[in-house]
Symmetry: C2
Subunit: 258 residues, 2 copies
């Protein structure tokens, strides 16, 4: 990471885990930036203030957003559009807006260190703006990848939303189909279904936002599973082995962080 700090007045909207962690990372890595944090409720805003991690912490949107050259939305996905609408009157025309999208859980000390950040410029987005936002996320430790909005939706449908739905479906299915079976499960089942413990309201919002790409992926996966059901019915060692080997080869390439 090099070059001038891309932004000097940064508004973080949402004082929760993500917004708070981002404020901490920025405090450390962009010391000269003026950090403002907005929250809907008094209590978490007060907590941010008490910990001294922002120059301004307020429930007043104008006080936080006014004059900022970057605003980062750190609220649940399904509150973003509303919040953005309310912010618009106070935003400088040159201000840039980015968001933490569907970051879902703390992994390492800094939430953002080493995380993949997908940025999705529209067709008309100026190159300088892309560079500035890229630099911002790199400063807090992210590996930035650029995708079109449609590609982004397809990718997160595949690697995040579909796994979540599968985990939820499998958990509920197993519990309903054979009461008591879950008590007999081992670590394989626990791994496969771990994400199903995520907050239902947040996930309903995420799944709703990406329902189209997700629907297409799920339909295609169902087709693949139907093929596997046929393979089980007319069991063929070579074909099953080939499926498991291909999956293993792909999975082995992913590095486990734990």
């Amino acid at each position: 990471v090099s070059g001038d700090p891309p932004f000097s007045k940064i508004a973080l909207l949402g004082p929760g885990l993500l917004g708070g962690s981002l404020a901490l990372a920025l405090r450390e890595r962009l010391r000269e930036a003026h950090l403002r944090v907005w929250g809907r409720r008094e209590e978490p805003v007060q907590a941010v203030w008490d910990r001294g991690i922002a120059d301004v912490a307020s429930t007043d949107l104008e006080a936080v957003v006014g004059g900022a050259d970057l605003a980062v939305l750190c609220v649940p996905v399904d509150s973003m559009a509303d919040l953005l609408k309310r912010m618009l009157p106070f935003l400088r025309p040159s201000a840039m807006v980015t968001d933490v999208g569907s970051v879902k859980r703390p992994v390492v000390e800094s939430l953002f260190e080493g995380a993949v950040c997908l940025i999705t410029p529209a067709e008309g987005t100026p190159a300088a703006d892309i560079a500035a936002v890229t630099l911002f996320w790199e400063i807090v430790g992210c590996r930035v990848r650029r995708l079109s909005p449609a590609e982004h939706d397809d990718v997160v449908a595949l690697v995040s939303h579909l796994p979540h739905l599968l985990a939820a479906a499998l958990t509920q299915f197993a519990a309903e189909r054979k009461p008591g079976a879950l008590e007999l499960c081992g670590n394989g089942f626990k791994d496969t279904t771990r994400v199903a413990s995520g907050p239902p309201a947040m996930w309903t919002g995420i799944l709703r936002e990406n329902r189209r790409a997700l629907h297409d992926s799920l339909e295609a996966l169902i087709e693949k599973l139907s093929g596997i059901a046929t393979l089980l019915d007319q069991f063929d060692d070579t074909k099953m082995m080939r499926l498991l080997e291909a999956a293993k080869a792909h999975r082995d390439r992913l590095k486990d962080s734990r």
Copy 2:
């Protein structure tokens, strides 16, 4: 665990991770037992012998099985039937045979400590035999649950084999559908697909053995997923929330060992 040791001459068939761990656990907890370990290949048998964890370690089936009052099959599921057939001439009529079935990976220091062990007596199995086998597995640290063979197959299809197939299918599906997408995945995807890294040959054997129960479960799950696809298409917050909440409630009841 109380009562007399249920067996005094114990043959462990298969000197791998499971057989070896079992020998170690028995050495510690059933000191007076005469332990014999059989293996197909010289090398691992020699390793067992060198570590002093068995009284007999041999590639000669008769030397290990002859006179034993318990034989524990610790070979891959798809080698069990063959091995059993070869053992029969040497087995005492009163000898009992049990197996490690589809135990799949080390979790804690002792592989068996705290693990759920499913025993599946047939209709005619004498109560005393059930008690002896139960006591044996309790001695090495297992929590023993009794199921009919059909129930056992249904349960492991649900909590082990189906999750494995789903993880493999999802991994291969995501990799094929959008090359490069996997590199952008986070921990949710890694958790959900972790078991897909398991050994393909072993898993082909496991899935083949239980293909009938597994096929039925997969067909029913596909139906559930089709319902979810419809729900995505005609998105309904309340219904999606209800699904995610039910899944979360079930998942939250499982204790994570890590």
